[in-house]
Symmetry: C2
DNA sequence: TTAAATTTTTAGACATGTCTAAATTTATAT
DNA sequence: ATATAAATTTAGACATGTCTAAAAATTTAA
């Protein structure tokens, strides 16, 4: 039996090594989960015991096939529930995270399957994040972070890479949501902030914001 | 903060003292929850500390106003989720209990409100059990258990009082569901079993089954 | 009304997941 | 190359919720 805590650790490692597939360090996991490095050490030992991670002392850990499948299923559930909350219960995209953090741990394969069907098999959640399939595949986004766009080019917002109320509320205030058209006008080299055109109006945003906006070129 | 375990104890006491409002004994609670009397003793002390129950050693416990409100909210969530699973995700009425046992602990007032609205404010769940309102009121059923019906009278099934797969599957096999018309033909005094007419066909059922079927006379 | 049976509580143990402080290992910089 | 800094693990503690076995209180029945 896998516990709620274990699921949270697996999910953290999964999300931290999405692109890299490299070992993830104790401290990074601790920061992601919001706990101490000591607790992470303890837990990595337990997950190693259960063959959910490969863990080498002082070197970090990565997911086994079994661990990756479990983590992927938790992320899948999280994003399906977020989609449900926004599409069916009219939640705002900024207020679904905490509830989905709870719902992602509900254990019922049938529930997930039915929810998926009820939502018409979505590939992306309300933040544009890909929803892993039942087999653990991750839909391709074909996007780049806004700060990597070439000056002068335009694209559509396809997603965001963090799911925090204050960030999402700020985007809403800027009139940015999934599908919004953005043109990169100028990069300020001093602080890497950006002048951009959102639909028809000009705005200035920080590097910190830009790097969490996923753009598909048009 | 209230824990999942505490919620389960409050719910158990709530359901065991629905009509009576009397003190509930340690052993009865232990049986309901499926744990030992020792564990119940321990927990009652904690709930007493938190002013969720009034507990007198060796005498049992009953809910305080605060405890009753919390318990009622858990039962409300359980029954709303069961309604969601059956009405929206096409679950069978016999397979929703275990999932609802998990979902009832999700903490989000907004989620419950939105779910209630999404389901069009139901008063009864798929088993005919009343769904407590937000204020903790319990919709009236005006029903009697089938075994208390007078021989020769007829009524409609309005609900069942246990939520177990084997019982519900058996009812389905007997062609009994919410709304089914039943006439009591004969009580066998030896074992209190009943001969009944279900819609148009005659059947024989045990006292054990009859007492869990809620009938409204027509 | 007193002995026996039942119920309930207490005592002590264990597993889980967390923490802080100290010890150890690894990385960095002179 | 070695001292220092940073990262990581270990040791020991604590809270929660559970258990079994033994003790205490209550109920039942002769």
């Amino acid at each position: 039996m896998i516990t709620l805590s274990e699921e949270n650790y697996l999910k953290a490692i999964f999300l931290l090594s999405l692109n890299t597939n490299e070992k993830v360090s104790t401290n990074i996991i601790a920061a992601e989960i919001g706990t101490s490095a000591a607790s992470v050490s303890d837990m990595l030992k337990k997950l190693q015991e259960k063959k959910l991670v490969e863990y080498e002392k002082y070197k970090g850990a990565y997911l086994t096939k079994k661990g990756r499948a479990l983590a992927s299923s938790v992320v899948r559930k999280h994003r399906l529930w977020e989609t449900f909350l926004v599409n069916k219960l009219n939640f705002d995209w900024g207020e679904v995270h905490d509830v989905a953090e709870q719902l992602e741990h509900i254990k019922s394969e049938k529930l997930v399957d039915r929810l998926d069907s009820f939502l018409k098999y979505p590939s992306f959640d309300p933040h544009g994040e890909p929803i892993p399939t039942k087999n653990g595949e991750i839909p391709d986004t074909n996007t780049v972070p806004l700060n990597k766009l070439k000056t002068g080019t335009a694209g559509k917002v396809m997603g965001v890479t963090i799911d925090e109320k204050y960030f999402l509320d700020y985007l809403t205030k800027l009139n940015i949501s999934i599908g919004t058209e953005i043109k990169l006008l100028e990069k300020i080299s001093f602080d890497q902030s950006l002048n951009i055109k959102i639909e028809t109006t000009n705005q200035h945003i920080s590097h910190e914001v830009a790097k969490h906006l996923l753009i598909k070129m048009i």
